[in-house]
């Protein structure tokens, strides 16, 4: 194993066209770096919609070519893989998407995807082995081949279909699963079943997860490490308990305080919060992206803050220089 990191994301950026007919370039992801060791872990990337977390997830999955920076998986840059190596990469890294009904082609039977994965990535030839492999993973997610055989996506409930999507990802026996908002479309009462499943897969099958979410409560529940993103930049990163409970960065503080927690009703109603500014303007800002509405703003915030270390938490804010 080359180096002690399984996954290394180094200075990753992605620019999108915007403004007058897409002429102005703005960084949806701006110079993001993080690493994951071989030890199975659930690493969460949390932030509001439009902060760039899904774009980051797609770049890590090798679906979206980054404008700058590299994604190195087990020592290999995933954007310069040869076609055979690409099959190896798909065997090691799989994905679960947000909307189960869009993860599967509404016009194709659901089990077709399970067999495709088994055939193309696991290289199983005869249908008996394929059926067996598919049935094993379906049982792991609490389903069986009979329930799934020959059915179209519209014949499942959201929760069931998301389980099939997880099963599909499990077939190649991956080491890393990137889950892009896997439970946001699932009813609150059934989210726990899937989140618990992630925990079991981490411990039982030793699979690492990159969990993308905007819901900090679920993030706290299952993640070991967490990175908070704002306008394309990681503002704070570290162990989940430290980041979510100590909250060093001003944005993390504001985010947690704004969470509608029944237990903090009166405090929530009285405390005032400044509405965020115009999105694009903040994305393009050279310095700290949160400077526009940050209560602790100073002159130095014009320059981009590096990552400072406080105990084992990294914070990108001049307050901690």
């Amino acid at each position: 194993m080359s180096g002690q990191y399984m996954l290394r994301v180094v200075n990753l950026s992605k620019f999108f066209g915007y403004g007058f007919l897409g002429r102005i370039k703005f960084p949806a992801v701006d110079n993001v770096s993080f690493d994951m060791e071989y030890k199975p872990k659930i690493f969460t990337v949390a932030g509001e919609s439009g902060c760039g977390k899904s774009t980051l997830a797609r770049m890590v999955l090798g679906i979206l070519e980054p404008s700058e920076g590299t994604v190195v998986y087990k020592g290999k840059n995933i954007y310069s893989l040869k076609s055979k190596e690409r099959r190896w990469f798909h065997r090691e890294v799989q994905a679960i998407f947000q909307d189960p009904y869009d993860t599967f082609n509404p016009l194709r039977k659901v089990d077709a995807y399970l067999y495709e994965t088994a055939k193309n990535i696991l290289g199983l030839k005869n249908s008996k082995d394929m059926k067996e492999a598919v049935d094993i993973v379906l049982r792991k997610v609490g389903l069986s081949l009979e329930e799934v055989r020959g059915k179209y996506p519209s014949e499942f409930s959201g929760g069931q279909l998301q389980r099939v999507s997880i099963a599909r990802a499990l077939i190649p026996g991956p080491k890393l699963i990137v889950a892009d908002e896997p439970v946001s479309m699932i009813d609150a009462s059934m989210r726990m079943n899937i989140l618990n499943m992630f925990k079991e897969l981490k411990e039982g099958e030793e699979i690492s997860f990159i969990y993308i979410t905007h819901d900090l409560a679920t993030a706290y529940y299952i993640s070991d490490e967490i990175a908070i993103m704002y306008r394309g930049v990681i503002v704070e990163m570290g162990p989940a308990d430290e980041v979510l409970l100590k909250r060093y960065h001003p944005y993390t503080k504001a985010l947690i305080e704004a969470l509608p927690e029944p237990s903090r009703r009166d405090d929530w109603l009285t405390k005032r919060v400044k509405p965020p500014g115009m999105e694009v303007k903040e994305f393009i800002m050279p310095g700290c992206k949160y400077a526009d509405i940050c209560p602790y703003r100073e002159g130095i915030c014009e320059k981009r803050p590096p990552m400072f270390n406080i105990s084992n938490v990294k914070v990108s804010c001049w307050l901690y220089k």
């Binding site: 797609r58 679906i63 798909h90 994905a95 994965t117 990535i121």
Partner: protein
Amino acid sequence: MAIAARFMGKIVSLFVMLYRRNLKFRLGFTIILILLTLGFLSFFSPTNTRTWYVAPRDRPPSLEYPFGTSSMGRDLFWELCASIRNSLTIAFVTAMIASHIGLFLGFIAGIRGGIIDRVLMFLTDTFIIIPGLPLLMVVTTVLKRYLTIPFLGMLISIVSWPWPSRQVRSMVLSLRERTFIHTARLSGMSTSKVILQELMPYVLGWHLVNFTNTILFSIGTESGLAILGLSILDDNTLGVMIYWALNWGYALFRGIWWWLATPVVTLVLTFVSFYLVSMGINEYVHRLVR
């Protein structure tokens, strides 16, 4: 070939389902069936419809001559059958070539993107601004001697491929962003498999709509050329019938209205029926994509 068979199977089942449930499609398809039977009958025509003076001239429609006879001494019923057969063949040839070129280029532009997409788009835009009819008028005069029915179909397809290609391209671009394309890639499916298994079910509907619209465009263009005397005048097509009736027989001034009415009414019926079919499929496809 299995894929082609499955492909045809899907189209047949789609037609049967639409026939039962979509009024517009049913109306249009029945008229087309009538036209096809007439076209088929032309193989049993007692006389060669391209020779003159085989029937008494200028007879109004009667039992013996259901559509009457023309000043050229031809029984208009049999001439009409032959004309329908030829016009539909030309249209079919154009549609087969143009809609498939369009499909192919649309897919490449949509999937590849980048430079290829820009080049193909530029090429399509150039062809779109060139006025189709006048250009074809020039081409048909130039190649007057070599014109045959299928060759004329090919010529018309030169100007009719850009529309389907643009349509397929925008379709592919919107589908490319859908999540199930990523799922397919992550399931190790090759690009060609993604096209066939994932994109084709959606594009098939639109391809049929483009196919019928190209048929409409081709019949319209051929009849336009024929009226100007630029089609294959010694053969039979609906346009050629109008040409002889108008420019040679002066059917209008000499009161032989049935000579002109037969091709014009048939043309109108052809246009309307194919349009109804295309609308029927369009309604189905819209519901599918939503």
